[in-house]
Point group: C2
Chain length 331, copies 2
DNA sequence: AGCGGCCCGGTAAAGGATTACCCAGCCAGG
DNA sequence: CCTGGCTGGGTAATCCTTTACCGGGCCGCT
């Protein structure tokens, strides 16, 4: 592997000049730049990343720590982050915390250790691991969920309002006993969606009963069980607000097994406009979150913070959009 | 940020001893290890990754370059790779080539530059960028698709056989004019699936017509258009073999729009057992590829090659499993 | 008692790029 | 013609860790 000295020797200049030429510093003669460039090409020279990062005290890399690579919501965020980061020459590395505070903490350690320029993460809740970033002064932005007592940049969705609107919609469609299947207590988005659901019941003067609510992991299996339980109660719900698309999979499965048809028998609105939501029968009504945009906004905030660490922290809240399809209509 | 010298000073030993103690070398006195450990904890010492990688000439990182983060097949592979890599203390960074040779090449450059220990990738086809890895002697493993004229470790699925079996199944169910929607010409998996489809037609003595075949990007939009075209021909197919799950989304959408019901009207088998395949109505028959296993096998091969670069290259071919569900039954 | 060998741990080199600092040479002005 | 200033580029320090090499001290054997 060729080093900068090899290039310097071949071009007949010093390593300093090679570095300057290749990094586009203005103080190098045109002709020399060309000669250096050619020598570098000839040798297939690639700067040694670790050496550069060591000297610069920072790698042109941002780490993106999300809680589930298999969740389309998060992969769409990843796309947004990538597109913005690449524009300015940063690489993105994707890490999968699996909603597990320990894994999250490990990835944060790696990020610190590798001296990444910044971190974007959907925090699992425990603030402790994020403190490490703050302590070291590494730039970071939280997405999807706020950080308790930590004034950092955050990009959120007004998920409570969205949940309320979705529930309003179900009620307006004539469903009477609307239930809710949401994520674990303590996970902010799960709490917010439940709160929005309750807001709607309250303003529609419907009694809110814990018999209509189930909380479980944000996964298909948990939601499957929850839906099966809800539906086999004496007084089952006739509509369900489901807090993400993985859960929707479990819920639909449970309804199939009970011979209950979405829409006609039980109204369904789920969070996240997964690619399969439209082509299924009946098409699934969803709350579409602006995931890609969350990613781009977060990336821009991060870049701004990397450039100027004294910026004051901002909170950006984006809106979600209810898409009404067949699963929330009786007909 | 504390450095190793700070730790050394606090513990009253040399930096060499700190390094040895923290890296678990045997030749350090118990008591000293404890003292060093305590000093490190006290200072919150994290070794500087770039410095370590520079010295070691290699980072404990493997890069995974896949063609689509939004495709569940690839994210499942990612899970497999991660699980194995983490067991032995490697980190995994995920990169998204978007089926784009230029992006792939850029990520390979980054991987080389950062001196990652190894690379796992689903090659976009052009071999050129992979040559760079071979030239530099970086360990790598190809998944999902073989590399033309490159003897490297490869993990494949016998996708031709699987396509044949799926087509056989459709024919056995009484579908008469089976069509096929597959990926672009030149993409190996797409070609293989088409070949398997033709194998089945041939052995069942059905005429094979190009009117029943469409090739497009491995995406929903292309498949949507293809299915719409196929179905509005004078003599439309009464069954379809669809080459991946994103395409299945597009196909189901097109069928809905034409008021055609999967199963009863048109038999469908799609590749990849996406999470939503079962709960939809009717449940989607699929060819389940062992994606997670591909990931674990590839990771193990990569680790073996990192440890011993002279190993001879192996090709591992895994089988796929046909899961018959409602979309391939007339009833 | 003397010496060989072993165990532990210190000293310093190495790894490769960036950059502060400095110097040579040239031009222009006096 | 001399000198001050500016420009372009070289020298060498620096980033931090790992590890080759070396040496001190102690044990045990002869």
């Amino acid at each position: 592997m060729a080093t900068i000295s090899d290039v310097a020797a071949l071009a007949g200049v010093s390593t300093a000049t090679v570095s300057r030429a290749l990094n586009g510093k203005a103080t190098v003669d045109r002709e020399l730049v060309a000669r250096v460039q050619q020598a570098a090409d000839e040798l297939g020279y690639r700067p040694n990343g670790p050496a550069r990062n060591l000297r610069r005290q920072e790698a042109a890399v941002v780490a993106l720590i999300i809680s589930d690579v298999e969740n389309p919501f998060f992969t769409a965020i990843a796309r947004g982050v990538e597109d913005v980061a690449h524009e300015v020459g940063y690489s993105v590395v994707l890490c999968n915390s699996d909603e597990n505070a320990e894994k999250e903490s490990r990835y944060i350690d790696v990020a610190i250790q590798e001296r990444v320029a910044g971190v974007i993460l959907s925090p699992t809740g425990t603030t402790s691991s994020v403190d490490k970033l703050a302590a070291r002064g590494t730039a970071f932005v939280a997405v999807d969920r706020p950080l308790p007592q930590q004034d950092s940049d955050v990009v959120l969705v007004d998920t409570r309002l969205a949940a309320r609107q979705a529930t309003d919609h179900l009620i307006a469609q004539g469903y009477d006993r609307v239930g809710c299947i949401t994520g674990p207590a303590g996970v902010r988005t799960a709490d917010d969606r439940l709160a929005g659901y309750r807001d709607a019941l309250k303003s529609a003067k419907r009694p809110s009963s814990t018999k209509l609510v189930r909380r479980t992991e944000y996964k298909a299996a948990g939601a499957h069980k929850a839906a099966a339980e809800l539906m086999s109660q004496p007084d089952p719900p006739d509509a369900l607000l489901v807090a993400n698309s993985a859960m929707a999979v479990g819920v639909l499965q449970a309804l199939r097994e009970q011979g209950v048809r979405p829409g006609r028998d039980v109204g369904i609105v789920a969070f996240d406009d997964a690619p399969w939501a439209e082509p299924v029968d009946p098409p699934l009504s969803v709350v579409a979150q602006p995931a890609y945009e969350i990613g781009t906004v977060a990336a821009r905030l991060l870049l701004a913070r990397i450039a100027d660490s004294t910026r004051t922290a901002t909170t950006t809240t984006l809106g979600a959009r209810l898409i009404e399809r067949g699963s929330s209509h009786r007909t």
